[in-house]
Amino acid sequence: MSDATSDVRRASRDDQFFWDAAAEGRLVIQRCADCGTLRHPPAPMCGVCGSLQWDTAESSGRGRIVSWISSLHPNRPDDAPRIVILVQLEEGTRLVSNLVDAGEAPYDDLPVVVEFRDDRGALTPFFRVAP
């Protein structure tokens, strides 16, 4: 697709680790190596203690929907409408993603679980309703 709005994401120095893990089907959360605080979106410095040292924690991939909307104007014109969700992971951090295979209308606090799917050539964390 040549449309300017369909650019493939470009990982930056600060979040390459997230997409490297995603490529292996793993959902990870950045963790301060000094004070242990989890943070997302990724950032080079810990906003709690100022440390530049960090590692990652493996997420269970389970969480609940904090908020959701129906996206009627996807950023690729040929895309089907999708459900955008704000997920609060069990570990406490939040991330924005999409709800896939939603057999029922989403609702707030709905339990969800991660499911990796290809998106424009990159394995990407989406979520489905938890069984």
């Binding site: 650019d7 129906s70 996206s71 009627l72 996807p74 950023n75 895309d79 999708r82 704000l86």
Partner: protein, 377 residues
């Protein structure tokens, strides 16, 4: 007291196709504000706008024949920068770094670059975390935040529509408003198409507008030389580390607006005023639900109570808190909220078309920043 006043205001017409350059709009609005202040362009020694403005300060200065100018700054943000830019001007004057500061904003955001249209993944890195999943317009960025308010308090899109009806009623009697003479009913609102289901319909969204607005901030002790001085009683700006770029998804409680609450606290502490002293409010609303969150953050009503507060007609001209008396950004125009500051000045001067009787204090809120205007003297 800040020791500063708004000495002058100026604006172009608000349209969907200005037919001239953004620089021309900036120059027209600025010159009008300078003359309204009883000054000449050579008296301007400070210039402030906020980011996402294509008009270069030096070039605007050349157009106006302004200066020499000794103070420049830009507050960060789109709408959140409106009152924040006023704070830059107030700070410069209070610090003695400038005497007459021009605050300006002008653009062709309908006929030129359309701020509200979908964007790709290019942009500041944090936005990639949203755009890749379909959050590619301001409407969707904000709706994901507003949705939680609906869940927490049972607010419906129809509740939001009651604000829109109020704003459009004010716009209908404001000849400068794009929606002049075009009021709507709640049925009209509910018949407008979804922009972001289940949060925002078309009539919940601010306009895309062409136009410019400018104000001149000066020292209070120069008020004698000004036709209609308006005191800046307090100005404040609050930004928190747990927000992100136009995506406040990380607050502990998403059904609140912590930055606006802190801004309110600062404004009331700095002015010595309380919510009871506010006679009229001009509240930035890129989308109608924001008014609900802001009214609650400022303490005009409790959590979740804005739904009833608005339904009961409190925003009307004879209500407890007449709000967005120019028609707001939904009804008048979307000049990133700086037109709402201008309306606040008119209310305190007593020259607004939808004038609130005996308006002494006006609150202007623009997302994370805000100010309180008051009668001078």
């Amino acid at each position: 007291m800040t020791g500063t006043i708004v000495a002058g205001i100026g604006a172009t017409e608000f349209s969907k196709e200005s037919g001239r350059s953004e620089m021309q709009l900036a120059a027209e609005a600025s010159r009008a504000a300078i003359l309204d202040a009883g000054l000449t362009p050579r008296d301007i020694d400070g210039m402030v706008t906020f980011t996402v403005d294509a008009n270069d300060e030096q070039e605007l200065m050349r157009n106006l024949g302004a200066g020499p100018v000794t103070w420049w700054s830009r507050a960060p943000g789109g709408g959140t920068g409106a009152c924040a830019a006023m704070q830059q001007a107030v700070a410069a004057v209070a610090a003695g770094l400038a005497d007459n500061v021009l605050v300006y904003r002008a653009f062709n955001e309908r006929s030129g670059y359309r701020y509200g249209q979908p964007r790709g993944t290019a942009g500041p890195p944090p936005l990639d975390w949203y755009r890749n999943f379909g959050i590619d317009t301001p409407a969707k960025m904000y709706a994901l935040w507003f949705r939680r308010y609906m869940h927490a308090f049972g607010a419906t899109n129809e509740d939001f529509g009651r604000y829109t009806v109020s704003a459009r009623r004010y716009a209908a009697t404001n000849p400068k408003a794009w929606f002049h003479d075009r009021p709507i009913t709640l049925d009209d609102h509910q018949a407008s198409r979804w922009i972001v289901e289940p949060v925002l319909r078309l009539y919940d969204c601010c306009q895309e507008s062409d136009g410019g607005v400018a104000l001149v901030v000066t020292r209070a002790d120069r008020a004698g030389d000004v036709d209609a001085p308006v005191a800046i009683r307090a100005v404040a700006d609050a930004r928190h580390a747990d927000a992100s770029i136009t995506a406040n998804y990380y607050y502990d409680d998403l059904a609140t607006y912590p930055e606006a609450a802190q801004c309110a606290q600062l404004l009331f502490a700095r002015s010595g005023l309380t919510v009871a002293d506010i006679d009229v409010a001009e509240v930035y609303e890129n989308f109608s639900p924001l008014v609900f969150l802001v009214l609650e953050a400022y303490g005009f009503c409790g959590p979740g109570e804005a739904i009833g507060f608005i339904a009961d007609g409190n925003l009307d001209i004879d209500g407890a808190l007449p709000t967005n008396t120019h028609g707001g950004l939904l009804g008048e125009a979307y000049i990133h909220g700086i037109n709402s500051i201008q309306e606040g000045v008119r209310q305190v001067r007593g020259t607004a078309v939808n004038q609130v009787a005996d308006a002494e204090h006006c609150l202007v809120s623009s997302l994370n920043s805000g100010l309180i205007l008051g009668r001078f003297g």
